[in-house]
């Protein structure tokens, strides 16, 4: 028998999964092009900060969305310059970018948001019930009484899948991540594909941060991304770099997060930390079990330099 509290968990689980899904989609874009994006975390945080900033200054969530995309794009440019242009090791660059964004947003938040470490309440996206669909039992309650960003995500996921597997653009992208020499010899620019992919990937991940601020908690605090970027990374690995798989993994993580929150307030039998670590442990286990079978796009992590023989 499904009652209101169960519905509540499913709803919370979905909403907690949203930033993860945005970040995972962004990560898939980047890694399919052959660049590890360890800076999803920084992108989420950057997007969140921009969203709060824009929304407060212009008192509009749409302004927040634009600024959030912009700030995430800046993170992307930074990362792209370091990894694609300067050929700095992608792991090192990603970690550096994360630390940079963390430090910078903490500081800027203090200056920009007069209310101490947390910003004032941000005007966000309110929930819109979709007429008709929202009256559906169960499904309607959970899926169709949400806000614009989540509705956008409903469209983005199949779009991502279609773009990746059914378009020229997607084909070129996948080939770049697998064997960039083939792409180069076919006359395409590996540099351009990768550079733009890094920026795009950070922007999509930044949408996750925008969602956090504009649709979930309606304010900005330091380090509010809290590791979501890394969980998204694990999710996209579990999902085998496929949008559908990654979404499924994110939903799983979101659900366990919702359960964990519930546990904190009630059930003493199982320590809540168990649920908190579940996604991390599951990812490690998945990596171990599928070590041979789950492989990132073959050329990920390697800088491409034309030439050779």
């Amino acid at each position: 028998m499904i009652d209101a509290s169960h519905l509540d968990i499913l709803d919370t689980g979905l909403r907690l999964a949203v930033p993860l899904i945005f970040a995972a989609l962004g990560g898939i874009w980047c890694e399919r092009a052959g660049v590890f994006n360890i800076a999803l975390e920084g992108s989420i945080l950057g997007g969140a900060f921009g969203a709060a900033l824009g929304a407060i200054i212009w008192q509009s969530p749409w302004a927040g969305l634009l600024v959030g995309l912009g700030s995430a794009a800046l993170v992307g440019v930074l990362l792209a310059l370091m990894t694609v242009h300067l050929a700095i090791n992608q792991m090192v660059a990603g970690i550096a970018a994360n630390m940079f964004v963390l430090g910078l947003t903490s500081f800027l938040a203090r200056i920009a948001f007069a209310g101490g470490s947390a910003s004032a309440t941000v005007p966000g996206f309110s929930k819109l019930a979709i007429p008709g669909l929202s009256s559906l039992p169960l499904v309607g309650e959970i899926f169709f009484k949400q806000d614009v960003l989540l509705y956008a995500l409903y469209l983005m996921v199949p779009l991502a899948w279609w773009l990746l597997f059914k378009t020229t653009w997607g084909l070129n992208l996948r080939a770049t991540g697998e064997y960039p020499r083939a792409v180069d010899s076919a006359g395409l620019s590996v540099y351009r594909i990768r550079f733009l992919s890094v920026i795009g990937s950070c922007m999509v991940a930044g949408l996750g941060g925008c969602y956090l601020v504009l649709s979930q908690v309606f304010l900005f605090t330091e380090h509010m991304s809290a590791g979501k970027g890394f969980i998204a990374l694990a999710a996209l690995i579990l999902g085998r770099w496929n949008p559908i798989g990654a979404v499924a993994a994110c939903l799983l993580f979101g659900l366990s997060d919702a359960l964990q929150l519930r546990m904190q307030f009630g059930n003493p039998d199982v320590p809540y930390q168990f649920f908190v670590v579940l996604p991390y442990v599951a990812s490690i286990v998945a990596l171990v079990v599928f070590a041979g079978k789950i492989k990132p796009p073959a050329a990920t992590g390697q800088h491409y330099q034309r030439g050779g023989k």
Binding site: K166, T168, L171, R174, E178, Y179, R181, D184, A186
Partner: protein, 505 residues
């Protein structure tokens, strides 16, 4: 009027001249061979033609018009297609997806239409390929067909083939050569890079021979013989032959029994190779690069596990021993082919490289502590005796010239007093003086009663130092000649035969 004309091409990489005033003339509708050993410059030249590199000087003309290729895209637009030696195929995509990769066209993949056109093309060239098959599941010969389809699908008129038969088995090669003739009948012009003489003489109309960045010969196939062409390929400024002392070989040091091994791509690289070397004897292995020599050396040194067969040193099987044990206990010294990626650590200093393989033993270290003074002394001593020119032993070895780097490697391998010395391509890229010094070292070891396995693609080198000469082709040891019976022509013929005779001539 020639269809493709290259004039005075010069290409330098830093201080190294890869192409020195190269000119080439290809007639339309012909199959033109470009012949030469590794490092001759053939692939560099083709990479320029295809837009991967730009020439420093020189001009290109296609069908009378100047040809400007700053990128592969421009090459394709001009009708020039390249079949690479290492296929430009994405393994986990399908045949169709690989063929259409990079083609202009809208956002949506019009797979159905492309599939239809591809099947039509396949019919015309008589290929049977399933467009939706994934590349990773296809055999090498079929993959090459996909590579060719890629070029043909784009309506190229000039096809450059880079060592196409190097990945094919004997049966596939015939089919491949027949296909070349079909393409010729379709009006395509082909530029065929290879080092295999018999194929050149089977299908080509003309052949240009390159050596060390220069063109050394341009002949019609009808006007020449394989022997003459191979002479053109291998001749080189000779180092004076080292002093030979008559030597009666002693006990057996190395014995290979039907050794087989796979290469890094999982293809059979060694087929049942059996040979023996005695103390005080130099066995040279001649053969064009890529015929299993590297795998042979690696198996003996312990860097590659053979798939079957046995390796015995002084009558003890070494298969269970790792690299370090083979060096210390079985006393195998090994000078690898690639000094920069395997033989040395470029960012280490001279003395660190000198002790690289003996770092855990006296005198370089005692009980886990490095004995730097001893290491310094040893290195200084070696540098003096082996004429390694350097500024200081603290210098990073990357700043030494190739010849001096190689001398240090030789010193290191020889000073550990091995019973068996395996030397692979030791004189690659070295000047005459360095070559002379190294060959002298080899002769000294021979005189001291060591067994030496000397592998090289430079025939003159092998002829100069060896007591017996084995020839490898396609992973088979096709023959072993006594020094008295060996000459360039005989060896060249053995190099191109794929039949293992096993008999000593």
């Amino acid at each position: 009027m020639s269809y493709l004309q290259l004039d005075g091409i010069i290409k330098r990489f830093g201080s190294f001249t890869a192409l020195d005033e190269v000119s080439l003339s290809v007639q339309q509708g012909s199959i033109h061979a470009l012949l030469g050993e590794n490092g001759a410059g053939k692939t560099t030249l083709m990479n320029i033609l295809y837009g991967f590199y730009q020439a420093d000087h020189g001009s290109l003309q296609l069908a009378g018009k100047p040809l400007n290729v700053a990128s592969p895209r421009q090459a394709l637009d001009a009708g020039v297609g390249m079949i690479h030696q290492h296929f430009m195929l994405v393994d986990n995509l399908s045949v169709l997806e690989n063929v259409i990769l990079g083609l202009p066209g809208g956002l949506r993949l019009k797979l159905a239409e492309h599939r239809r056109r591809l099947l039509e093309l396949c019919e015309r060239v008589e290929f049977t390929i399933d467009p939706d098959a994934v590349i990773a599941h296809l055999p090498i010969g079929t993959r090459q067909q996909v590579e060719i389809l890629k070029a043909l699908y784009r309506d190229v008129d000039l096809l450059i083939l880079d060592e196409p038969s190097s990945v094919l088995g004997p049966g596939e090669i015939d089919a491949f050569l027949r296909m070349l003739n079909r393409l010729k009948a379709m009006g395509k012009t082909m530029l065929f890079i290879t080092h295999k003489l018999d194929e050149v003489f089977q299908v080509c109309d003309r052949v240009t021979v390159m050596r060390q960045g220069r063109v050394v010969g341009n002949v019609e196939i009808g006007d020449t013989t394989p022997a003459k062409v191979s002479r053109l390929m291998v001749g080189r400024e000779l180092a004076p032959p080292p002093q030979r002392v008559g030597n009666a070989p002693g006990r057996q040091v190395l014995q290979l029994e039907r050794l087989s091994a796979l290469n890094d791509r999982g293809i059979q690289a060694l087929h049942q190779v059996s040979l023996e070397i005695r103390a005080g004897e130099v066995l040279g292995i001649a053969g064009v690069d890529g015929n299993g020599q590297a795998e042979l050396a690696e198996c003996i040194a312990g860097l590659r596990a053979p798939s079957s067969g046995d390796i015995r040193v002084c009558n003890e099987s070494v298969l269970e021993h790792d690299v370090a044990t083979r060096r210390t206990r079985n006393k195998i010294g090994y000078v690898p082919e690639d000094r920069h990626s395997t033989g040395l650590i470029l960012d280490f200093s001279l003395w660190e490289n000198a002790m690289l393989r003996d770092s855990r033993r006296a005198p370089f270290s005692i009980r886990g502590l490095l004995r730097r003074a001893a290491a310094f002394a040893r290195t200084e001593d070696w540098c003096a005796r082996y004429d390694v020119r350097m500024h200081s032993i603290q210098q990073k070895i990357r700043f030494l010239s190739g010849g001096n780097q190689q001398k240090l490697i030789f010193a290191r391998e020889v000073e550990c007093n091995p019973d068996l010395l395996v030397v692979m391509q030791p004189c690659k890229g070295l000047d005459v003086g360095a070559i002379e010094a190294l060959q002298r070292t080899v002769m000294e070891q021979r005189a001291k009663g060591k067994a030496v396995l000397y592998i090289s693609t430079e025939l003159d080198e092998v002829l100069a130092v060896s007591d017996r000469i084995g020839v490898m082709c396609a992973g088979h040891l096709t023959g072993v000649l006594e020094r008295a019976n060996a000459n360039a022509e005989r060896i060249a013929l053995l190099m191109t035969s794929t039949v293992a005779t096993g008999a000593s001539l």
